[in-house]
């Protein structure tokens, strides 16, 4: 492979890879007359590097997609700084491409050609303005598209002899997902009715087509057929209740109690009478009403008196009379958590990403990054009608009168974890995150037998978790198609990395061995049983010192990990062939 590569790119020894990258870059640029990339910036103390781990060189473009959030351009902080400096930017950018390669080869000490090619397999550097176009219009002209993808394709075709034909992907989403898919080397977009290998479908397509679509062995789609068993609020609760009962029968009360992470919930109208009974038993508490099938906080309201809900029933009935083609919408009434944990007086919930590759056996991956979404207004139970206080969905917050898109309303999970650690100590945080792991596992187990297992399917779930003042996590809901639209530069980075790593795990390129415990930001959380953090077989005898393989809210050094992973995979492959 290695020799094939260097032969094809050029006869020169090490600098071949350099020229290779330069060529790729300039091919993507409108004008071919670009100065060669300046030498990589020297590390101030190369000798110390291994010991102190100095931060990466400034402005270093990540080896994967290098992107800038358009509204902010260069300065992260708006006030008092020049917002954009178009002049020197591209220069810096190109230089960093060089820097990335330079460091790369230095670290591994292997031939440059080999490693450079390897890096290319999982990412290319773009310049920011190209990304801009991409983001705004998603309308790359055909010619440009070919320009971008062309060189990569040939590059890969030349370098990997056993590489199959390009992977044909299809998607209807026009957000970060599109950016990631389009820039994945060796992948080509299929439009309309063309044949595809990978389809990131939306839920409506799934409903219409999944039953009568024949799929080849290697084909993958992004949803399970009946994902709604987990993602519709009423089904989720039903499944959890049943699972709890089953656990109580089989493993006792203690084990069943581990399922008590969802607030008391009733399905309306079917469980209306049960609900009224419960309501009468606990006067004065607040309930929240959610439509089961809607998302993004639409149609949600809070109430404390039964009268409110009667009025509402009447209202909905009336409207139903007018348009009798609409059936009665299902709602769940859920006990409202009245003591949420507040930061700076604000309510928030957590968004965590879980990737399920199969249900039988259950194989689930947990992503290290995620975020806390803050409500813009302050939490108080007095203003029960003000839904902006209570709902932290970005979609709802966006319609809030004082929503200011420039003002962040998210914290990355790392920051959140750090904040909690400084307030409550690492032990409490550890417990909280263990409890959250439990939520992910138990909720997936509860639907394990109901969901139609299909090896073509994988699904990326967005879990919404609320934390109360006793640092107990509550499961609010699970989303089958979490928002992939970016609200800020930071958000964009998170989502593109998340999707890239999802694709690494889905592994259309068949590079993984299947024994990996970590791929990029994803940690294998469950593999038909708990996964141990240590290498070797899981030790289930002494549960005491079993450390699960989850790192939610921990440092996500995915780039480094990916580099190591794919390097070692290459080495293994070479050794075996």
């Amino acid at each position: 492979m290695r020799s094939g590569h260097s032969c094809s790119v050029g006869p020169g020894p090490a600098p071949a890879a350099w020229r290779g990258t330069g060529g790729l870059e300039s091919a993507a640029l409108p004008s071919p007359a670009q100065p060669p990339p300046p030498p990589p910036p020297a590390d101030p103390q190369p000798g110390r590097e291994m010991v102190v781990e100095p931060p990466p060189p400034p402005l270093q473009a990540p080896p994967t997609l290098s992107v800038m959030w358009p509204p902010r351009l260069w300065s992260r902080r708006g006030a008092g700084q020049s917002p954009s400096v178009p002049g020197p930017r591209p220069a810096g950018q190109r230089q960093l491409v060089g820097a990335a390669w330079g460091r790369h080869s230095g670290e591994t000490g292997r031939g440059r050609t080999f490693i450079a090619k390897d890096s290319l397999l999982f990412g290319v550097c773009l310049e920011p303005n190209k990304w801009n176009q991409n983001y705004k219009g998603h309308g790359l002209s055909k010619g440009k598209e070919r320009k971008i993808i062309g060189p990569e394709q040939t590059f890969i075709a030349l370098s990997c002899r056993e590489q199959r034909a390009p992977i044909r992907f299809k998607t209807t989403q026009l957000n970060t997902l599109m950016d990631v898919l389009r820039h994945r080397p060796g992948w080509v977009e299929v439009k309309d009715e063309g044949e595809w290998d990978f389809y990131w479908c939306d839920l409506s397509w799934l409903r219409e087509n999944s039953d009568h679509t024949y799929m080849d062995e290697h084909v993958r789609i992004s949803h399970f057929r009946n994902h709604y068993e987990l993602t519709r609020k009423n089904y989720m609760v039903k499944n959890l209740k049943r699972f709890r009962k089953q656990l109580e029968r089989e493993a006792g009360k203690l084990e069943a109690a581990k399922c008590d992470f969802f607030p008391k919930t009733f399905e309306l109208p079917s469980e209306y009478h049960l609900f009224v009974e419960e309501f009468r038993k606990n006067p004065g508490i607040t309930w929240i009403m959610k439509p089961v099938a809607r998302s993004q906080g639409k149609g949600i309201f809070l109430f404390r008196r039964l009268k409110d809900i009667m009025d509402w029933r009447k209202d909905t009935r009336n409207s139903d009379d007018q348009k009798d083609d609409i059936t009665v919408e299902n709602y769940v009434a859920q006990r409202y958590i009245e003591n949420p944990y507040l930061i700076g007086g604000r309510k928030f919930d957590l968004r965590v990403y879980v990737l399920v590759m199969s249900y039988i056996p259950l194989r689930a991956w947990l992503y290290r990054d995620g975020f806390a979404r803050f409500s813009n207004t302050r939490f108080t139970l007095n203003s029960i009608d003000d839904q902006y206080v209570h709902l932290t969905n970005v979609a709802v917050q966006k319609t809030s009168p004082d929503y200011h898109p420039k003002k962040g309303s998210k914290w990355m999970l790392q920051r959140f974890r750090q904040y909690l650690a400084s307030k409550h100590g690492p032990q409490a945080v550890e417990t909280l995150f263990r409890d959250m792991d439990n939520i992910f596992i138990k909720s997936l187990q509860s639907v394990q037998k109901v969901i139609i297992s299909d090896k073509h399917c994988f699904e990326l779930y967005g879990y919404d978790i609320l934390i109360d003042q006793d640092l107990k996590p509550w499961l609010l809901e699970v989303n089958a198609s979490p928002s992939l639209t970016a609200s800020s530069q930071e958000d964009y980075e998170l989502k593109t990395c998340l999707l890239e790593d999802t694709l690494h795990v889905v592994d259309m390129e068949a590079r993984l061995t299947g024994r990996e415990k970590r791929v990029g930001g994803f940690d294998l959380m469950w593999n038909d049983g708990p996964v141990s953090r240590e290498d070797g077989p899981p030790d289930l005898s002494g549960m005491g010192n079993f450390v699960t393989n989850t790192h939610l809210g921990c440092v996500n050094d995915r780039k480094k990990q990916l580099r190591q992973l794919f390097c070692s995979l290459q080495v293994q492959k070479k050794a075996s062939s």
Binding site: V52, R77, A79, G80, G344, K406, S422, V555
Partner: protein, 526 residues
Amino acid sequence: MLQEESDLSLIIAQIVQKLKGSNLYSQLERQAWASLQRPEIKLESLKEDIKEFFKISGWEKKLQNAVYSELSVFPLPSHPAAPPEHLKEPLVYMRKAQGSWEKRILKSLNSMCTELSIPLARKRPVGEQKELLNKWNEMGTDEPDLSLFRPVYAPKDFLEVLINLRNPNYENGDSLSFRTHLGLIQIPLKVKDIPELKECFVELGLNTGQLGIDDSTQVPPELFENEHVRIGQKVLAEQDSAAAQQYIRQGSPTALRAELWALILNISSEPEDVLYYEQLKTNVIQHDLLVDSLIYKDVKLTASNDDYYFVFEDYLYQVLLCFSRDTSVLSHFAYNSASPPKSYIRGKLGLEEYAVFYPPNGVIPFHGFSMYVAPLCFLYHEPSKLYQIFREMYVRFFFRLHSISSHPSGIVSLCLLFETLLQTYLPQLFYHLREIGAQPLRISFKWMVRAFSGYLATDQLLLLWDRILGYNSLEILAVLAAAVFAFRAVNLMEVTSLAAAEAVLADLSTLKVMPLLQIFLFATVT
């Protein structure tokens, strides 16, 4: 020797004087009286027994911490005959410069007052008081129209003043000579060079374990972190300020930081302190000051727009509004070169007996002031405790970042230290930037004035402030600023304009401060 002894007795006398009026003093007295009931206190050895009792019951530690705190706040007295203004600032031209700078600020404040025809202070009508009380915890939701207000000054303006500082006794003429400083700061002050800094910051050395380096994921926690955390817990159990200060030089574990800082600053949230905070709050509710609008404006402009700190907006108002009413802050003017501005009751201009300090704490907020508070919100969520910590941090450190003085931690010395370090260790870079009209200080000044708050990621900032507390000095800010330039030197060498240089240094949020400091101080070949 004799001189030292008399110095010591002078210091002791000063501290005794200070502590006599304090709460601690009366508490100790009460404890001593109460201890007389105890069986182990004998009349014949009364003094020794009470001392022993204080030792056992932990009161001695508290006294020790109080003395230590006084020692670290107050400058050592110079000659007993020196006038009090020498305590503020020994150099006459510095005092003068500070005086005229204050006049300018006041003039700007007054003209804003007249322009907008808003009084400096007014009593709120009862209805308004109630309303404010109701939304005390959500002041950030209020969006008053502040478009007419502008910050009294920004760090930029202050830098211009510092650039124009001259020492009248140091004549170097208008023409360039070898004595002309290449940097922006043109006055000679003694600043440390790297060997001296190495000696001063010896605990940051390569052979000492550091949080911010040795707790990274690659290093197994058994090597340093676990043991360091264990020692930290021990220090906290001992309740010893001096030990805590020494300990924190190697960084504070995240979970212990809040308590360690409180211990070093000698803040214990007693009921009286909570009461004091409540009084200040009442004061805010009763009176409306012009500076309130300035504070609002500043928070909206800075912290609310910050990716990290936007959450804490409400806390910032709760702290800063109370701070502006706190007359106990006035006492720090004894050792601050600045003096509190005075205002006169209407119609009595110039009559000393009608003069009041305005604002009551004597501190006029400038653009970015709220960033001194924001990082502390990460550690304390009790408003009264947060308030106390901030006030103590201000009267110990932050005031030095916006008053003109010759103190080694003063902003002038920091600027000069920064420029000298760059000129000495990165002469090419300094020359290049100077040639293209991008004097490095123009970029780094705002970092130093804000003590890097809002520029670094929170965890990194707290690691930096650990060292400020640990060394009781702000010099580390100048060292870090120089280290940042050194770190991005290669990119900076390629820029050709100030704007481009600023762009290279616009985002510091990815930097890791401890490795930078360590490399700059200890691993640079000199």
